[in-house]
């Protein structure tokens, strides 16, 4: 009998020591521990959730359809080249996800089928209509999500955030968690920017170009586009440049007619850096092309001297300088009234590369650091006050046995914190609520036992017999009632998002540990008291 108790005590002592070691990093004491301890012993502890330490939780949707559209576009222009090479006269037009080719001849069908087996036939007859097969479209969407994930990771790495979490969710969503970011808006812009860099020739030689107004007011873009909708040649488009007056700050938009086909794109860049303009001491971004890009740039500039070349980022023209001479060496620059931060972020996104498709933000939860601090303080306060209230109530109602229950309760709290720390679990605000509720529920097992013991005492049993049979009879009730709470906690864990998951974790850990402290902890104390001397009466 005595031996059994000793083992139980050792078990309790060991778990207690372990719990304290694991939880130590979360206490101020950890600072004073020796260096070998800090490196070799558990040093992470409980991790604070985004809602407690402040930070961003973002969900983006990669618009996979756009990626398919872009690929369709690319297929169409390659087909045009192929037809030209084979001296076939064909008219290739793209609208959204379909490519339409006229005329419909066996030669043309052969070229398409030989070169693009992933194109599915939608219509044959007087004209040919193709679209990318569903299977291939699915693959493109999947790849674009993977690429977007990789690109975002690169951007965030260069932006500098400690311990970011970036992962895919579902078919086409990307979840980004950035703890402790000070400027949320900047981070969102940096991640969400498509950063599609293009160089396009300005179509000044087209007749209709002279009819387009020099400048318009912001907001009038749609109107202008609809006015010129049918008038401009099919291989051109109108994009806008934003001009800010240095003195007045007034904003005007400059419509520019451009060749649709990009002469050069951002995927040929090798580097992007922030530089400072000496005249206006204004930052700009200087670009360097890789070898292929540099050759192409030289070719394009040589063939188009005295024409204008527009630099376009995400369909906004940044500048459209006149090409004075052939440019070798592969350097270019983007200017445009940037602040230092804007220029730096632009260089980051250009270096990290463009997203394969635009992204839409689905969710943004930003928590400032001060709210997180307030929440932790409030949680601590509520926890301490709640615990004290329960402790006092138990002593008031159960006297000496109440003290035993309180001891079990404290053991419970320490073990719960230790267990969370050992798992490096994430503590969220609802998680704090879970701990505090677990404190309220923790005494239930003891209450169940005590009530049984009282029943047994009333029935005339000796204190020792009352303890034993009260404990035995309460066991299955305690077990059943814990399992039911665990069921709901499991459901919460399965379906909940971040903060709710944190709640499920603390509640279920709290309940499980409670089973241990009630069945092993409390019982041992009663046993110790009983073995020392047979109690005359039990203070319960």
């Amino acid at each position: 009998m005595k031996k059994k108790i000793l083992w139980k005590l050792i078990l309790i002592g060991l778990t207690l020591i372990l719990a304290i070691i694991f939880f130590l990093p979360n206490t101020p004491v950890f600072k004073y521990m020796p260096e070998w301890w800090k490196t070799n012993m558990p040093n992470k502890g409980i991790v604070l959730g985004l809602d407690l330490q402040g930070g961003l939780h973002l969900v983006f949707e990669v618009e996979g359809d756009k990626a398919v559209e872009i690929t369709t576009d690319r297929y169409a222009s390659r087909l045009r080249e192929l037809f030209a090479k084979k001296n076939l006269t064909a008219n290739v037009t793209v609208s959204g996800l379909t490519i339409t080719i006229t005329p419909s001849t066996t030669d043309i069908i052969k070229v398409v089928e030989d070169n693009y087996p992933t194109l599915a036939t939608v219509e044959t007859g007087t004209r040919l209509v193709y679209k990318i097969s569903d299977k291939e479209a699915g693959r493109i969407k999947d790849t674009s999500a993977d690429q977007a994930l990789e690109t975002i990771r690169n951007r965030i790495d260069q932006f500098g955030v400690s311990e970011p979490t970036i992962h895919r969710q579902g078919e086409n969503e990307i979840v980004v968690q950035l703890p402790g970011v000070k400027d949320p808006k900047r981070a969102i812009d940096l991640i969400g920017k498509t950063a599609q860099l293009e160089f396009k020739l300005v179509a000044d030689d087209v007749k209709v170009a002279s009819e387009i107004p020099q400048t318009i007011a912001p907001g009038e873009e749609e109107l202008l586009l609809s006015q010129f909708a049918g008038k401009i040649p099919e291989d051109t488009e109108i994009l806008f440049e934003k001009k800010v007056n240095r003195e007045t700050g007034a904003v005007r938009k400059l419509p520019i007619l451009l060749k649709k086909q990009a002469a050069l794109t951002g995927d040929l860049l090798s580097d992007a850096k922030v530089s400072i303009d000496t005249r206006f001491s204004e930052p700009y971004v200087s670009l360097s092309f890789n070898t292929a890009g540099a050759n192409l740039f030289e070719e394009v500039t040589a063939a188009n001297v005295k024409k204008r070349l527009a630099i376009i980022l995400d369909n906004t023209v940044y500048s459209a300088p006149v090409i004075q001479e052939r440019i070798a060496g592969g350097n270019a620059q983007i200017t445009g009234n940037f602040t230092m931060e804007e220029a730096k972020d632009l260089s980051i996104v250009l270096k990290a590369g463009a997203l394969p498709a635009p992204m839409k933000m689905l969710q943004n939860v930003t928590v400032g650091p001060s709210l997180g601090r307030d929440s932790i303080e409030a949680g601590k306060r509520a926890g301490i006050i709640g615990t004290i209230a329960v402790v006092i109530f138990m002593i008031f109602y159960y006297r000496f046995s109440g003290i035993i229950a309180d001891f079990a309760l404290l053991l419970n709290i320490i073990l719960l914190l230790g267990a969370m720390a050992s798992l490096n679990a994430t503590l969220t605000m609802p998680g704090i609520a879970g701990i505090i509720l677990a404190i309220g529920m923790a005494v239930d097992s003891n209450v169940l036992m005590f009530e049984r013991m009282r029943d047994e005492l009333r029935a005339g049993k000796t204190p020792r017999a009352a303890v034993d049979s009260g404990y035995d009879k309460a066991f299955w009730t305690i077990f059943d009632s814990h399992v039911t709470t665990l069921i709901t906690a499991a459901v919460l864990f399965q379906f909940g998002t971040g903060p709710i998951k944190g709640f499920a974790v603390t509640l279920s850990l709290g309940v499980s540990i409670n089973l241990f402290t009630a069945l092993i902890g409390t019982k041992s104390i009663f046993d110790i008291i009983n073995t020392k001397r047979e109690l005359k009466n039990l203070s319960i």
């Binding site: 969710q363 400032g368 709210l371 009632s481 814990h482 459901v491 709710i500």
Partner: protein, 303 residues
């Protein structure tokens, strides 16, 4: 030995008709709330409805009225304001989302910096939820409640008998409906954190019910000669003390959370307080009578 509740012999099951009226009213309110939520007439939180919520903390006290005027002048429509004057905090919520996500919060912050320039602020939190995520969270929450209820039914049916499972499930569902209904009537926000509270209440109330059922099962085996109703009454009286003590301790911590736990957990703890009270009521007055009314063969009779 303090015994506040000593050898009671209250005829709980005899009062079942009164209890059923109370429960009936609570449940009907709850069902109305569910219908209103489903048809979009309830005060859904932005995590379910989609939209933008921003909380600002100002340096100096701000008048809600000034903020309202400033935002209206800035062209913002369909927003509601809430303040926490003790900490100079203002919560702005805009439920409509016909813009790109992020635009509304940008408008609000720029309007406030322009119109309230002499009072500096920090952004405590921004929550922007697009319609897709809102719909998904709604569906997830509904599914979570359904799965929890089924899980409870299966476990109790497995550990006891099917009709006990049904009794426990109805009692649990009753509590969830009642708290939801009360929140609806009070015009409080129905959001993710409330659903969390509801599921916690379900778990807690079930614990209460299981303890009662446990004693009923034990006594049904011991007292073969007494009627089922009498055994149920005795059992409820026997565990009454435990029911009340445990409810008190959980209530104590919920109240601590309500008063000291900060604004984030305010509604959560309010729901918990209601849930503990209603859950205790239902485990005494609702669960067992349902098993009794179900009738049939005496449960757990010796063969």
């Amino acid at each position: 030995m303090i015994e506040l509740i000593k050898n009671t012999n209250i005829n709980f099951l005899g009062k079942r008709n009164i209890a059923f009226v109370v429960s009936g009213i609570l449940s009907v309110i709850g069902i109305i709330a569910v219908i209103q939520i489903a048809t979009g007439h309830a005060n859904l939180g932005i995590d379910f409805a989609g939209g933008t919520a921003i909380q600002f903390k100002f340096e100096k006290p701000v008048a809600l009225h000034d903020i309202r005027l400033a935002l209206e002048a800035g062209g913002l429509k369909d927003f509601d304001l809430q303040d926490l004057p003790s900490e100079n905090k203002i919560l702005i919520r805009v439920k409509k989302i016909d813009h790109k996500l992020g635009q509304v919060s940008e408008t609000i912050t720029s309007v406030l910096s322009q119109k309230v320039p002499d009072n500096k602020y920090v952004v405590d939190s921004i929550t922007e939820i697009g319609p897709k995520v809102g719909g998904r969270l709604r569906a997830d929450a509904a599914r979570a409640v359904a799965v929890a209820v089924i899980g409870i039914l299966i476990y109790v049916a497995f550990r006891f008998q099917f009709k006990f499972g049904v009794g426990a499930t109805i009692a649990t569902f009753h509590d969830v409906l009642a708290v939801l209904g009360l929140f609806f009537i009070m015009g409080r926000e129905i959001n993710l954190i409330l659903v969390t509270a509801l599921l916690t209440i379900a778990g807690y109330s079930l614990t209460d019910t299981v303890v009662v059922f446990d004693r009923i099962r034990e006594n049904l085996k011991l007292k073969q000669k007494e009627s089922v109703e009498a055994v149920m009454n005795t059992s409820i009286n026997e565990v009454l003390s435990r029911t009340i003590i445990t409810s008190t301790t959980v209530l104590l911590t919920s109240i601590a959370l309500f008063f000291f736990g900060g604004e984030v957990l305010h509604d959560f703890s309010l729901a918990m307080i209601m849930g503990v009270v209603i859950g205790t009521f239902s485990s005494i007055f609702v669960a067992s009578p349902i098993v009794l009314i179900w009738g049939g063969k005496r449960p757990f009779a010796k063969k």
